[in-house]
């Protein structure tokens, strides 16, 4: 039994390492090719010929977001793209979110024939502004649905363009986001149903009027670790998977989706706690079932900055929710697993999610307990123990270092080179400080799902983007 378990963990780690090395290689070639595929000239075409640029709807749900709503909407309205609309879904906020929106953007209720193309809780009213400066803004005021998915559906029903962006109000988008994210759609012979892009932490960045003026590596420990984790996930994993057209998940923080396909696939699942992964997989399933060719693309550039958990308490909330969502996802979509009708989804994406995302925390935690047992029973061979430990440690570290170098090659966002070295330095401690926390919180999410406890949409404590608001928010949080 002891031997069996030891070998199981060993081969699990080795398979994971091989997977990651393969993804590193694929993402390298994909990133290089992407970099040379499009120039600034293509982006200028979109701006110079507004009638040729496909329209994009930006959908951002807001629930009790009074601290950041104003900066966030201003940031979205100032994006550099000719044809877009910003749809803010006020999901029954109990604070001043709606009042701030009405006041600041001079909103009025408009007559609107609202069609429920996908299910969502009842919509009370639609608000728009007569001020031309805010003509792109639409606010959907609806009854609280308890999940982001429900609010997203309300926004999708309202979207008038062929593609929409799924984002959060705590996200700041780069000014050229829309022209960069639409290029893979325009450049594909196949129908592109979704596009993802790299997300980073906004925590220590300087922001002025909803725009990032200076990108910095996060100062706080948790967001710093999460920055490297995000880079690994987007620049290595998703870029690598995109080479095989097998991206498992287009992030809920920022992603471009085909409105028609989302609607046809039934919209976001209001009962889901991992609505992004759920939606991606259902879109793929819809295309497979209808024998339509499709593509999910990934843009390597950093286009979205989101507020990372500033402390362990918020990290706990975030990862517990992700854990619940993961288990729910696996149970809900078990029929795709190794199902030949779903091609890559059944034989590549689902097995990867089950074995390397869902099972990883379970195997790591039981492995840790097993190690303690071996230590207590003096069954550890210390001649080889350190080597095994070093092996597991180097898998993570090497991938992190290469990821940071990919990011630097793409675009030097941090002004100071030492900030990149800071990322590398702290990634050396990630396996010791940050990763164990993530494992425990994810397992907690699994247990919560199984025991049906605490099924609320975990709310993030916002710190706000503007310095003055930070102070107020911090006081409120105390």
């Amino acid at each position: 039994m002891v031997y069996f378990f030891t070998y199981l963990i060993y081969f699990y780690a080795t398979t994971l390492a091989i997977f990651y090395i393969a993804l590193l290689v694929m993402s390298y070639f994909k990133t290089i090719r992407y970099r040379y595929s499009y120039t600034k000239r293509d982006e200028h075409y979109l701006k110079n010929f507004p009638n040729e640029a496909p329209g994009i709807s930006i959908v951002a749900p807001a629930f009790n977001e009074e601290v950041i709503i104003s900066d966030s909407v201003n940031s979205l309205l100032n994006l550099d793209y000719p044809t877009f609309e910003v749809i803010i879904v006020n999901d029954g906020s109990k604070d001043k979110t709606l009042a701030i929106l009405i006041d600041e953007f001079e909103l009025e209720e408009i007559p609107y024939y609202y069609v429920y193309k996908v299910y969502c809780r009842p919509v009370h009213r639609i608000l728009r502004s007569k001020n031309p400066a805010f003509s792109k803004l639409i606010v959907v005021d609806k009854e609280n649905g308890g999940t982001k998915a429900d609010a997203m559906n309300a926004g999708v029903n309202m979207a008038q363009y062929a593609y929409f962006i799924n984002t959060d109000v705590d996200c700041i988008l780069a000014k050229d986001t829309l022209s960069k994210i639409i290029l893979p759609v325009l450049d594909s012979e196949q129908h592109v149903i979704a596009v993802g892009a790299t997300m980073r932490m906004v925590n220590s960045c300087s922001i002025d009027k909803g725009q990032i003026t200076r990108v910095r590596a996060p100062k706080g420990l948790i967001p710093l670790f999460q920055e490297t984790e995000y880079l690994r996930s987007y620049l290595v994993a998703k870029m690598g998977w995109s080479m095989l057209n097998a991206i498992p998940n287009v992030s809920g923080g920022f992603g471009l989706f085909d409105t028609q396909v989302v609607t046809s696939a039934g919209g976001f699942d209001s009962a889901s706690h991992a609505e992004d992964m759920d939606m991606t997989v259902r879109m793929v399933a819809y295309m497979r079932e209808n024998r339509k060719k499709y593509k999910i693309a990934q843009c390597p550039y950093s286009l979205c900055w989101t507020e990372g958990p500033p402390n362990i308490k918020v990290l706990n909330r975030q990862r517990t929710r992700w854990g619940r969502g993961m288990l729910q996802f696996i149970i809900d979509h078990r029929k795709f697993f190794l199902n030949k009708d779903y091609g890559r989804l059944g034989f590549l994406v689902m097995p990867y999610i089950v074995f390397f995302e869902f099972l990883a925390p379970i195997i790591e935690f039981t492995g840790f307990l097993f190690l303690l047992f071996l230590l207590f029973t003096h069954q550890v061979n210390f001649d080889t123990f350190w080597m095994m430990l070093l092996y597991a440690y180097l898998i993570g570290l090497s991938v992190s270092i290469i990821t940071v170098s990919y990011d630097l090659v793409l675009n030097k966002l941090y002004k100071n080179f030492w900030e990149y070295l800071k990322l590398v330095l702290f990634s050396a401690f990630e396996a010791i400080i940050y990763h164990p926390l993530v494992v425990v919180f994810t397992l907690r999410g699994y247990i919560q799902y199984l025991t049906k406890r605490n099924f609320k949409w975990g709310q993030m404590t916002r710190q706000g983007f503007s310095p003055s608001k930070n102070v107020n928010a911090a006081n409120n949080n105390v």
Partner: protein, 390 residues
């Protein structure tokens, strides 16, 4: 060079684990591999950082040396010859370092774009600047020797320089097996060739034709139309079976207002089986204000599928006369489809005062008939004047 040295330490390490199971020895190999990857990763990171800093320094230095002088020459109304510019820029092409070409090109293009935006560009001086700096020759050479990925980038830079290109240098790329490179080369050929620029446009451009190609070619056609009148684009459709390409050409016919194509377009409506192509023909006819097509479109309306019907409704919104308005009102009243009702209402509104009167009448009918939803829908169409973005 240090082969024995490495072999000694490898043998030593291997001897330490002699007698251990295979799996341990395999792990040792993996650890060493990962350690090497980690070390190389750190070194690469440091090297990239150094390279970026070095490039920034060089960029600043080049900018300091050239920017003001280039701006002066390109803005100047007096024409300077190549030697004068070389003397002014204090630049000897034969002594240029390898790294400098790209930086100088970026700077020239940036200055050119700024001056062009201010409508102050002296084209003769700009072309002489390119000659004085040896940029045209450099990029033509680069086009011949660069790798496929880089060559595509080079083609785009040459396009941006916009100083003509030797078709002989391009020919290798215009028939290359790499789709992206081939398309970039064909676009550049169309944009820069003076002898037979529309050769590829007449030959279906390329079998792989995407939205981005449409955008790039649209820009090229605008450039060509600024240089002289475009030929009748309709002839390009005859040789193509690619619906994407046909739709693109139809859109361009509407954009460039080639009114002479209207009558032929109407006859094409019967010949085309693809619904998206038919929908685009209808939209183009609307854009060309071809009133003669209205009775034909009205006749076809009942038989067409939904995308063509929507196109007909939009086109009839632009073709304002009594008959089209009467047809739209009748369609509004007879359809139960809310989406069609909304489109029709918007088209009726495009008919100016008469249209608004009809809409008010329809609204009144909805109120008296207790059709609340329809009333709301018409309210929405009225409010779009005030609220919908331009």
């Amino acid at each position: 060079m240090y082969y024995d040295f490495y072999l000694y330490y490898l043998s030593y390490l291997s001897s330490l684990y002699n007698g251990y199971p295979l799996i341990i020895r395999m792990t040792l190999a993996m650890v060493m591999l990962l350690a090497v990857i980690t070390l190389c990763g750190i070194l690469r990171l440091l090297f990239i950082g150094y390279k970026i800093n070095r490039e920034e320094r060089r960029k600043n230095k080049t900018k300091q040396h050239f920017e003001e002088k280039l701006d002066f020459v390109m803005r100047n109304k007096a024409n300077y010859d190549v030697e004068e510019i070389q003397a002014l820029l204090d630049y000897d092409v034969s002594k240029v370092k390898k790294w400098k070409w790209e930086l100088v090109t970026d700077l020239v293009l940036s200055v050119k774009n700024t001056v062009e935006k201010a409508s102050a560009l002296n084209v003769i001086n700009y072309k002489n600047c390119l000659e004085a700096l040896g940029l045209t020759r450099f990029w033509e050479k680069r086009m011949r020797v660069a790798t496929i990925d880089r060559r595509r980038e080079v083609l785009q830079i040459v396009g941006e320089i916009d100083n003509g290109v030797n078709s002989g240098v391009l020919s290798k790329s215009t028939f290359h097996k790499d789709i992206q490179l081939r398309k970039a080369a064909r676009d550049l050929y169309t944009s820069q060739d003076t002898y037979n620029p529309f050769r590829f446009m007449e030959e279906n451009f390329d079998e792989a034709f995407t939205q981005l190609d449409k955008l790039r070619l649209h820009a090229t056609l605008i450039k060509k139309s600024n240089e002289g009148k475009l030929p009748n684009l309709l002839r390009w459709i005859n040789n193509s079976k690619n619906p994407n390409y046909i739709i693109f050409v139809l859109r361009e016919i509407g954009f460039f207002k080639q009114y002479e194509a209207s009558a032929t377009l109407l006859t094409l409506l019967d010949k085309q089986e693809n619904k998206d192509v038919r929908a685009q023909i209808v939209i183009t006819l609307g854009e060309l204000d071809y009133f003669e097509c209205a009775p034909v479109l009205i006749d076809r309306f009942a038989l067409e599928n939904s995308s063509v019907r929507e196109a007909i409704i939009k086109a009839l919104g632009g073709l304002r006369d009594e008959h089209t308005l009467a047809f739209l009102v009748e369609t509004y009243q007879s359809t139960a489809d809310v989406n069609i009702k909304l489109l029709v209402a918007r088209s009726i509104k495009c008919h100016g005062e008469q249209g608004k009167q009809k809409l008010h009448q329809l609204k009144e009918d909805a109120r008296s008939g207790a059709k609340e939803k329809e009333h709301l829908l018409l309210d929405q169409v009225f409010s779009e004047n005030i609220f919908v973005s331009a």
